[in-house]
């Protein structure tokens, strides 16, 4: 009868499934040389581990193991990029990597989940010895240090040197007079630069949640009025969905605002004409104001649930050390933050490094890490869109600006 083959088939399928399942399972290697056997799970973005970009993570981890004969370390690697690792770690810290990388704007997500180890004592001193104070602050919360910063994370300006001189790029008005400038006007990571530049504050610009957001005063209304005129400037282009990069490619746009992740593409398009500079100033009612970008950092965090805490912390510090950062720069052009490296001739001459560090030091504010910051993104984005679409005009600018401020100070529920 034909029912038997079918039953057989079903059995076979189940057996296949089970077979596919039992193929793995690691064996512990016994230490014979007296070294302690430990396992470390490390998560990093896939480019840090890819063969094509030089296997930075593996190289560094092996160097680290060679420096520590007291441990017999087995490394396991996983893929989690800085921007999304926090949410992945947060829902199950116990089963996450011992060492992982995160963007500092997610720090409260991680500390709320009790996933980040506090680093203190000699380790904290070691980190502070090669990291600028502002960068240390970016991964500190309530006086505790929560990671090893290894690069800054901000945006600035890339421009075509054949169109703008170094003098031009200091002022947005001078640039608009000479060429086309694209700005991600509807992206709330970029747009607040104008408001913050005119004295608007977020949580006192010092992570004080109870101070709230001050984006509704007369100074904010002035900025809204300025932005309405800016959008109507024929040389100003609203950059959305990659329009800026496309314009740079076909030559119709001469400057865009973005970060180091786009630097290789821009280098390919502009070649030797690529210039990079901190965000320019803008002229508001005759006064010169500096645009101030949001800045943050990327850091190496240690899991508070790690079973090998000492090794994990030392590995994190090694991954943030001058040696590892130099390799990271050579292999992946990750902008170093280590103060010892800033004097290195290759690094000191790189225009992207100069622009990023100049932005971090001079023309940025630390992006607030308090959780109420989560309410600040959508209202600003909506303001950008409303100005672009022409629904916010000089007539209702004051009212709309105050509406934005109200929305930024409310979580939408209470």
């Amino acid at each position: 009868m034909s029912k038997r083959p079918k039953r057989l088939l079903a059995l076979l399928l189940i057996a296949l499934l089970l077979l596919g399942v039992t193929g793995c399972g690691g064996g512990e290697s016994g230490g014979t040389d007296g070294a302690e056997d430990i396992r470390l799970l490390v998560w990093a973005p896939s480019e840090d581990q890819a063969q094509a970009s030089g296997e930075w993570l593996q190289t560094c981890c092996e160097n680290f193991a060679a420096q520590h004969p007291e441990w017999n370390i087995t490394f396991n690697y996983g893929v989690a990029d800085e921007a999304t690792s926090a949410s992945t770690v947060a829902y199950d810290p116990e089963d996450s990597a011992d060492v992982f990388m995160y963007a500092n704007d997610n720090i409260t997500v991680l500390t709320d989940a009790k996933a980040l180890a506090k680093i203190g004592g000699k380790y904290a001193d070691q980190i502070k010895s090669f990291t600028s104070e502002a960068l240390v602050d970016s991964v500190s919360l309530d006086g505790y240090l929560y990671g090893v910063p290894y690069t800054t994370n901000t945006w600035y300006m890339f421009y075509d040197k054949s169109v703008f001189t170094e003098e031009d790029v200091k002022s947005l008005e001078a640039m608009l007079a000479k060429g086309k400038v694209a700005f991600p006007f509807t992206n709330s990571w970029y747009l607040p630069a104008f408001y913050v530049g005119n004295g608007c504050t977020l949580f006192g610009n010092a992570n004080q949640e109870d101070l709230g957001v001050d984006f509704g005063g007369d100074n904010a209304v002035e900025v809204t009025d300025y932005l309405i005129d800016l959008v109507n400037n024929p040389n100003f282009v609203v950059d959305a969905d990659g329009a800026g990069m496309a314009g740079l490619r076909d030559g119709s746009i001469h400057a865009i605002f973005t970060g180091s992740w786009d630097a290789p593409s821009i280098k390919e398009i502009l070649g030797d004409n690529m210039g990079a500079a901190a965000p320019p100033t803008y002229t508001l009612n005759g006064e010169t104001k500096q645009m101030l970008a949001y800045a943050g950092s990327k850091a190496i965090g240690v899991n508070a649930h790690s079973e090998n805490m000492v090794a994990a912390v030392e590995l994190a510090i090694y991954l943030g050390s001058a040696e590892a950062q130099k390799l990271h720069y050579d292999l992946r052009s990750t902008i170093p933050s280590n103060t010892e490296l800033m004097t290195h001739e290759d690094i000191a001459a790189d225009p992207v490094v100069i622009a990023q560090n100049d932005t971090f030091d001079r023309t940025s504010i630390l992006q607030p890490t308090v959780s109420a910051m989560g309410n600040c993104w959508t209202p600003v984005e909506n303001m950008g869109k409303a100005i672009r679409n022409g629904t916010t005009t000089h007539d209702n600018a004051a009212e709309q600006t105050r509406g934005m401020n109200e929305a930024m100070n409310s979580n939408g529920i209470s």
């Binding site: 063969q51 690792s85 996450s96 990659g242 593409s265």
Partner: protein, 290 residues
């Protein structure tokens, strides 16, 4: 006079037909447009994620080649195979669970039948991803969130709830007269034989429908795959891979390959549908006379 009237009726009909066809053509264009656009983008030679012209300025196959050769950062072939394995096994399991449950509820009478159907109805009102974190912790407790076991875990996730969505197949089985089952049993069939030899062949359209939906579910799912795969890049499914291509670090380089990937993932579904659609027509035609 009479002829003129006839002529004008004919003219009116022609006019109406033309108008209707124009309307249909416009609607068809609107409907096909996004699909066409993705296909054209997948052959676009210009880089970047922003286009100023509808038709690409130059055509190339490089986007497809890149998907299969540039595998160090986003390993598309591996993801494709992962997804295919998961989708095939979940499809088989889901189809079996779902049709069996439907058959039992349609043909048998037992005490828990009504309560079960009510419970399934109520559970079905909640979105599946509501339980995803709980599902993750259960799978972790059983030890299914490591290495290759992730595939098994995903298959379980996708097929585990199959017996709850019996409504459509049960409704279809209900339309097959019970007299056919009785006749088969008089001839000595067991329940299992009635199910496999009588009911299923008579219900081809619904079997096909079940197979298709059971395949497409895991094939396009993002949420469960993301929650369960976590940092295990070698277990990623295409949905996660395509999503990653649009992150800010990758979008400029990968956008056109993203479109190529979107075209590629539609191929297995299209093949499955074309192969199976001829069975849609049949059903109970000619089963019971009088």
């Amino acid at each position: 006079m009479k002829e003129k009237k006839l002529k004008s009726a004919k003219a009116a009909r022609t006019r109406n037909n033309i108008l209707i066809h124009i309307l249909l053509a416009v609607l068809a264009f609107i409907w096909v447009f996004p699909v066409l656009w993705v296909i054209m983008t997948s052959f676009r030679a210009e880089k970047g994620s922003y286009i100023s012209t509808f038709f690409p300025k130059a055509y190339t196959l490089d986007n497809y080649i890149k998907l299969f050769t540039d595998t160090t950062i986003l390993n598309f072939p591996k993801m494709f195979v992962n997804t295919l394995i998961i989708a095939i096994f979940s499809c088989l399991l889901t189809t079996f669970f779902q049709l069996s449950a439907s058959f039992c509820l349609s043909r048998m009478r037992f005490k828990m039948r009504k309560p079960y159907m009510n419970m399934a109805m109520i559970l079905g009102l909640f979105p599946g991803f509501m339980s995803m974190v709980a599902v993750y912790f259960i799978l972790k407790a059983v030890g299914l969130t490591e290495g290759n076991l992730i595939r098994f875990a995903l298959i379980l996730c996708y097929s585990g709830g199959a017996a709850l969505s019996f409504q459509i197949a049960k409704g279809f089985f209900d339309t097959t007269p019970y007299a056919i089952d009785e006749a088969a049993m008089l001839d000595g069939c067991t329940r299992w034989q009635v199910f496999t030899k009588i009911t299923l062949p008579l219900s081809k359209p619904i079997v096909i429908y079940t197979v298709l939906t059971a395949f497409i579910g895991p094939w396009v799912d993002f949420i469960f795959a993301k929650v369960i795969c976590r940092a295990n890049a070698d277990q990623y499914t295409v949905a996660i891979g395509l999503w990653r291509m649009l992150e800010k670090e990758y979008i400029d380089n990968w956008y056109t390959s993203f479109a190529a990937g979107a075209v590629l993932i539609s191929i297995p579904i299209a093949i499955l549908f074309l192969k199976l659609q001829k069975y849609y027509v049949n059903g109970t035609a000619g089963a019971v006379k009088g």
